[in-house]
């Protein structure tokens, strides 16, 4: 028994080392003075300065944030509707098909999603004159489409694990479906909606392949700029950018953990 747990600890420890070693190296080398990524030239904040002077990166980052914000918000609305339908509408004709539909974007290879959306936009432009050209709008539509699937799955599983008696009680007291949803159900699934929004936000911020297909000239998102920089060669300011992004995410996750622990304590008190 003891030997097995030693083996388990060793292999799990290896797994965690595997997960974090490249990230830690990236962070350390972002403070490297030398232009050569592998030669250590002493500590320096030089690349952070370079990063903030690089207008191309700043513009792309702002565009990506804007797209991610709008996409995540729209995806949350549509995904919540879809998740709600799947878990609260009881059995209805075509439910199996609908649930297959909603989860299909999750497993579709990105190159296919990107290509098919672009060809749709081109065909639509030929038929209706809309969307004229590609840019921010088409990227948002594409991101909403694949993000809403994630939101739907999260909301659906939250609703499935939730007791229906509160909703039934509200109905017995004469609540109309719409007020029932906004006054009872929505506050109860708020954590799922928040995590769905955050997930959509990061997925949108992270997407390279689909955005490359559906964006037009002059609409380069941050991943597109990073990708071309990385392909061209050594770019130490990308290390600095990665470090900033990792720091923001880590702070967010830590804050969320504290918030969750506080909530759990609050909920535990009455009992």
């Amino acid at each position: 028994m003891k030997r097995r747990s030693l083996f388990l600890n060793f292999s799990a420890g290896f797994g965690f080392l595997f997960l974090y070693a490249p990230i830690i190296a990236l962070i350390v080398y972002s403070f490297n003075k030398s232009k050569l990524v592998t030669v250590w030239g002493g500590w320096s904040l030089k690349w952070y300065g370079e990063l903030f002077r690089n207008e191309q990166i700043i513009d792309a980052a702002l565009l990506s944030l804007k797209i991610a914000f709008i996409s995540a918000t729209a995806a949350v609305v549509l995904g919540t509707m879809a998740g709600f339908v799947l878990s609260r509408f009881g059995p209805f004709r075509g439910k199996m098909i609908l649930s297959g539909w909603i989860t299909a974007p999750l497993v579709m290879p990105e190159v296919i999603t990107g290509l098919s959306l672009l060809l749709l936009f081109v065909a639509m432009e030929g038929l209706f004159g809309w969307p004229s050209g590609r840019g921010t709008g088409t990227i948002i539509i594409a991101h909403v489409t694949f993000c809403m699937a994630y939101v739907a799955v999260i909301v659906q599983s939250r609703l499935a694990s939730m007791d229906e008696t509160l909703e039934e009680a509200a109905m017995d007291l004469g609540a109309k479906p719409s007020s029932l949803f906004f006054l009872v159900t929505l506050p109860l699934i708020a954590p799922a909606i928040i995590s769905g929004w955050l997930l959509s936000f990061t997925l949108s911020l992270d997407d390279l392949v689909i955005a490359s297909f559906v964006s037009g000239p002059g609409n380069s998102t941050l991943p597109m700029v990073i990708f071309s920089k990385v392909r061209l060669g050594v770019t130490p300011e990308v290390n600095a950018l990665a470090t900033i992004m990792i720091a923001i995410v880590a702070l967010g996750v830590i804050a969320a953990m504290f918030q969750m622990r506080r909530q759990a304590r609050l909920l535990a008190k009455p009992e």
Binding site: L26, A82, L115, V144, V253
Partner: protein, 317 residues
């Protein structure tokens, strides 16, 4: 005869009644809640595949958009012709390059999925066995990299694997090798990249399957004299199967179509279909060919797996 007309007279209004009731029973609010997401997906997810299919049957042209129309019609002469070009598909079969790309994608995705499972299992098992606070922390540690940029995580490996990268410098300094190993731009780097970036997708379903497992079963197995290895293969592994299947599908399908990892970590000889499609589209500007590659990938690789997955969902429900 009189009875039949009588019943028709009686049935007539009542059937109209039910129709009327049926209409009034449609809950329009409810319908809207179903219809909005369904319509969105129909327009922006399903119709696109029909468009791709249509374009895969057209010919490349130097025009905007760069393909020919498959329908020719003339209203005055009442002439309508459908011109379907199967050449793209024939070319896919004839040219061994594409077949090799499909096969090599499947091979790379399958091998990487297997190694992802190997790395993920101990992690998931350990998390499922730890206590409350520690469990939450370990889970957060697995999810944290998933929230950071995929592209930057792949880029981090470039710094590790290149000729004068961290791994080679380390191995040279301790004298284990006297020539730097070639790791970047090999299939090995692609496997590593896929295992690394998709690890959370494997750990999470495995964890949720293992978490549900009843520990007393392991004790019972031990009491009955099973050695740890035996009880692992006879008790733990069968219980984890749903998680294993879910995790493998979540890793395998996107890995087959992967573009970023082979483009950054793979060599010029690393053949993956996602990259072929990308090059066909962006470099060769051959939209009909890229569409045909996508359709075949969809029909041969993705659709069967999605149907199996859906079938399993039905069984569970």
């Amino acid at each position: 005869m009189s009875t039949s007309t009588g019943s028709a007279w009686i049935n007539g209004p009542s059937s109209r009644m039910t129709k009327y009731n049926f209409l009034s029973r449609i809950n329009w609010g409810r319908l809207a809640v179903v219809a909005v997401p369904a319509l969105w997906l129909a327009i922006f997810f399903f119709i696109p595949f029909l468009v791709v299919f249509k374009i895969s049957l057209s010919e490349t042209a130097i025009a905007i958009p760069p393909y020919t129309s498959i329908v020719e019609w003339d209203l005055e002469e009442a002439y309508l012709a459908l011109k379907l070009n199967l050449g793209n598909y024939l070319f896919l079969i004839e040219d061994a390059f594409y077949l090799d790309a499909y096969l090599s994608s499947i091979k790379i995705a399958a091998i990487s999925t297997f190694f992802t499972l190997l790395v993920a299992f101990p992690i998931a098992y350990m998390i499922a066995r730890s206590e409350g606070g520690k469990r939450a922390l370990l889970l957060a540690l697995v999810i944290l990299p998933f929230w950071t940029s995929f592209l930057l995580r792949v880029y981090a490996w470039m710094g590790f694997l290149k000729k004068n990268g961290i791994v080679n410098e380390f191995l040279l300094s301790i004298g284990l090798i006297d020539q730097p190993l070639v790791m970047l731009q090999t299939d090995f780097a692609v496997y590593l990249g896929i295992v690394y970036t998709y690890l959370p997708f494997m750990v999470l379903p495995l964890y949720s399957a293992l978490e549900k497992m009843d520990m007393t079963l392991l004790e019972a197995a031990e009491d009955l004299g099973a050695r740890p290895v035996t009880s692992f293969f006879l008790v733990t592994l069968p219980m984890a199967i749903p998680g294993v299947i879910a995790g493998c599908l979540l890793v395998f399908i996107p890995a087959v179509g992967e573009f970023v990892i082979p483009a950054l970590l793979g060599g010029s000889d690393t053949l993956m279909i996602g990259r072929v499609l990308w090059d066909e589209f962006f470099l060769n500007r051959d939209w009909p060919m890229a569409s045909a590659v996508a359709i075949v990938m969809l029909v041969v690789l993705v659709l069967p797996i999605m149907l199996i997955r859906n079938g399993q969902g039905k069984e569970e429900a």
